[in-house]
Amino acid sequence: MRDRGRGRTAVRTVVQLVLLVSVAEAVLCLLVLCVTRVVRNRRERVLRRTAATTRPLVVEATGGESPSARAALAALDRRSWKAAEPTVTRLLSRVKGGSHHTLTDLLVRRGAVDAALADATRRRSLRRARAATVLALTGPSLRADPVRGPAARHALHALLGHRSATVRETAVRALGRLGDPVSAGLLLTALDPPRRVAPGLVGDALVRLGPAAVDALTGAAADGGDEQHRALAVELLGLIKDRRALPALSAALDDPAPMVRAAAAAALGRVGEPAAVAALTGTVRTDPSDRVVVAAAEALGLIGDENAVPVLERTVRRGPYRPAHTAARALLRLGPAGRAALGGIARGPDPAGAHARETLSLALGDRGGPDR
């Protein structure tokens, strides 16, 4: 009995405590919610009002023909600039050429770029990441600045090894936009553990460097560590479409990893080099991986050389689904000879006939007819 009584008291105490804490915290929560929302609404209202007056100035300045608009923006007070800045940064990521120079120059005059260069060495990761973002936005124009350009590159190189993934990612993006060829090799090292950056981001930055990255990428394609790195290097060479990469791409067709061979085939298709048709035809005929055969068939379609018709026709007739499907689409791109081949296959038995008919119906824009 005494135990039950003690137990009941303990339960009551716990329950009372929970109730008290819950009510107190709920009240606090409501207070914080209200205050936060009221303050935020007020701030947004002020910003919206101010932005309504500054936005026309920004648009006018971006047009490049209004020195007075540029001067007015450079002279804005702090509050008005805070309202205008989001419009400026939004436009910076979307404009090119003279408009980009104008907006970058504006940020330089406002001290934003120098502040970013200083912030790139601060302790807090968020500040460094924001700094890298400013350098990314201004990069295409900053590259021509004899002082700030090299300073930005130097700062961003240092950020590639930062412990924060966000900082590294923004640094990679910024280096891509800065477009300095010196960064190509370092960007490739950002793929390596332990402080690696997403391959897609590194790849995008390297594509932005364009032909300046070809030497580093051909080296990576040949002996770039694991197969994912080699495949990425090969893919990027295809996107850059520099003919200097052709020997490396052709060599990659013999890589032991199917992922790399497929990327090489796709890259050769993008480059569109007719001299690659023989190698690609051989790949379609003999590669054991369906994935590679699909990439090679697609590449033959992109190159558009009629010499590929026989091997593609054979693949449609005998291949498993994906190679046959892709080969049929590729035949459509090979002119009259390709279409004639498809027509012949279409009259034959399924599944090859079905692939051919599907491809031809897409091309002809088949209209009408009842549901089947």
Partner: protein
């Protein structure tokens, strides 16, 4: 006899209170984890480089797969909104699951659909054959597939099979996605293409929000109390629950309304289970099981920011059917994969997430109803002090309201989607109202769903009527999406 009853009642008190404390402690842990993630993501929002992702040739292309049944009022607008999503390369594969209204006719008029022959890869089996396939003559990447009615899961399997791209995004036909939702959800796949196999985003009720051209331009809290309370539920479930579980690498569910998957992995596991009522939950559990059985490194991610807006039921009848179906689906999935429970080879999934779902999702309505029953019995026998019972009730309500308000605070600090102070007040009021009958009745409905499964009864989805997303005006009160009815293996019954 009275002693026995007294002992049972007292023992039950400790059981209920203990369960309550453990459950809410788990919620607090999830909230703490989410509390670190959501504000951090919000601070880094402008640093994510979505503009670069939107134009990069390396961003993987996506096939948006959706199944539609009797969606005539909204289907064209929904498809237009999906086509307008900011993404470098994506296609829409829409499966018309035997609609009996003008769904297909509307699509044909709007997009100039023409029939084409299409060879299926047959990489994922489906119950019903494809009747016809159409493509658009308006230079938009839209494929419409017509099948006999076979249910959402089976239709999605047809769509996945016909998808051309390496990533598949499954979206409900009546859902609206934020413009950058697909880009944001694709980020984990760009960051780690070899290991990330699935990612989910947040679902929010769209009832009474301002929708323009398929975009939610001003989120609003619904006017009705039922959908309003569901706003609270969804905030807790997504912002708190799923964010927290994802941090623990124990995410067991991605909503069927909005999830992104690697197509090759979907093919490996055989696509959706057409016999399951909780097909989205079952798919993710099966993914975990498949990959862990093969000891392959993988990740399932949850991003709290990309939002999918969907209509939620605003009548008790439709809500009841939904909750019965969900709980039935939960039970059947947990039963089907029960060998994962407390098995170390399944890591956090088997040792933490799975037991949580059994104890605190599956059994929760049983404990709630059991608690109410024993309180009533205790009162009747004079064994329970009314003061203590009331105290406990208030504490339980207080704790539950606090958790809801914390989830709301998390949303406000991190994402602040609801701008009006009045909307915040409405959600706070709904957090209180939820405990005054709503939780209790939904517990009963969930038990009914469970009981129906135990009796092996026929699952019924039910039908909701839809009036469409109108210009700049809020959605009509009381309108809902049409949901396909299905009976296992049989023809569809008439509309309810």
């Amino acid at each position: 006899m009275k002693d026995v009853v007294a002992t049972l009642v007292h023992a039950n008190q400790y059981l209920v209170i203990g369960y309550f404390l453990v459950l809410n402690t788990v919620y607090l842990v999830l909230l703490a984890l989410a509390g670190r993630t959501v504000p951090r993501l919000a601070r880094r929002r402008r640093l994510t480089g979505l503009d670069d992702l939107a134009t990069s040739p390396l961003t993987p292309p996506v096939s948006i797969v959706t199944a539609a049944y009797n969606e005539e009022p909204t289907i064209v607008e929904s498809v237009r909104a999906m086509l307008a999503l900011r993404y470098p390369r994506h296609e829409i594969v829409l499966v018309d699951d035997g609609s009996r209204d003008g769904t297909f006719d509307r699509l044909r008029e709007a997009f100039g659909l023409v029939p084409v022959e299409r060879v299926r890869p047959q990489e994922i089996a489906s119950q019903e054959p494809v009747r016809s396939v159409y493509v658009s003559t308006h230079s938009v990447p839209l494929t419409v597939v017509r099948t006999a009615n076979s249910g959402k899961a089976d239709s999605l399997n047809v769509g996945i099979d016909l998808a051309s791209h390496p990533l598949v995004c499954m979206v409900d036909a009546d859902s609206l996605l934020d413009e950058d939702a697909l880009l944001t959800l694709a980020q984990p796949f760009v960051a780690d293409p070899l290991h990330v196999v699935a990612a989910g985003g947040v679902i929010r009720p769209v009832n009474d929000s301002v929708v323009r051209h398929g975009q939610v331009v001003e989120p609003r809290i619904p006017r009705g109390w039922l959908p309003r309370i569901q706003v609270v539920e969804y905030l807790r479930a997504f912002l708190m629950g799923r964010t927290g579980w994802a941090r623990l690498h124990g995410l067991l569910i991605i909503s069927g309304a909005f999830g992104l998957y690697r197509r090759d992995v979907l093919v490996e596991v055989g696509g959706m289970n057409a016999d399951s009522l909780g097909e989205d939950f079952e798919l993710v559990v099966r993914l975990h099981r498949h990959l862990r059985d093969r000891r392959r490194p993988y990740r399932v991610e949850f991003i709290p920011e990309p939002v999918c807006w969907t209509e939620v039921p605003d009548s008790a009848g439709v809500l009841a059917r939904q909750r019965r179906r969900w709980h039935r689906g939960l039970y059947e999935t947990l039963l089907r994969h029960r060998r994962m429970l407390l098995r170390p080879r399944y890591g956090v999934i088997g040792m933490v997430a799975y037991p949580y779902f059994v104890l605190f999702e599956l059994l929760a309505p049983l404990l709630e109803v059991w608690g109410l029953v024993t309180v009533a019995v205790g009162f009747g026998c004079g064994l329970i002090s009314p003061a203590l019972a009331l105290l406990f009730l208030l504490a339980a309500f207080g704790y539950a309201i606090l958790l809801s308000l914390l989830a709301l605070l998390l949303d406000e600090l991190g994402l602040h989607r609801y701008r009006r102070l009045g909307d915040l007040a409405a959600v706070a009021a709904a957090a209180v109202a939820e405990n005054l009958g709503y939780r209790q009745i939904t517990a009963l409905w969930r038990l009914q769903g469970w009981w129906a499964s135990l009796r092996n009864g026929t699952p019924v989805w039910g039908e909701m009527t839809r009036s469409g997303f109108t210009g700049t005006t809020p959605l009509d009160h009381g309108s809902h999406a049409t949901v396909p009815e299905t009976t296992a293996g049989g023809p569809r019954p008439g509309a309810q």
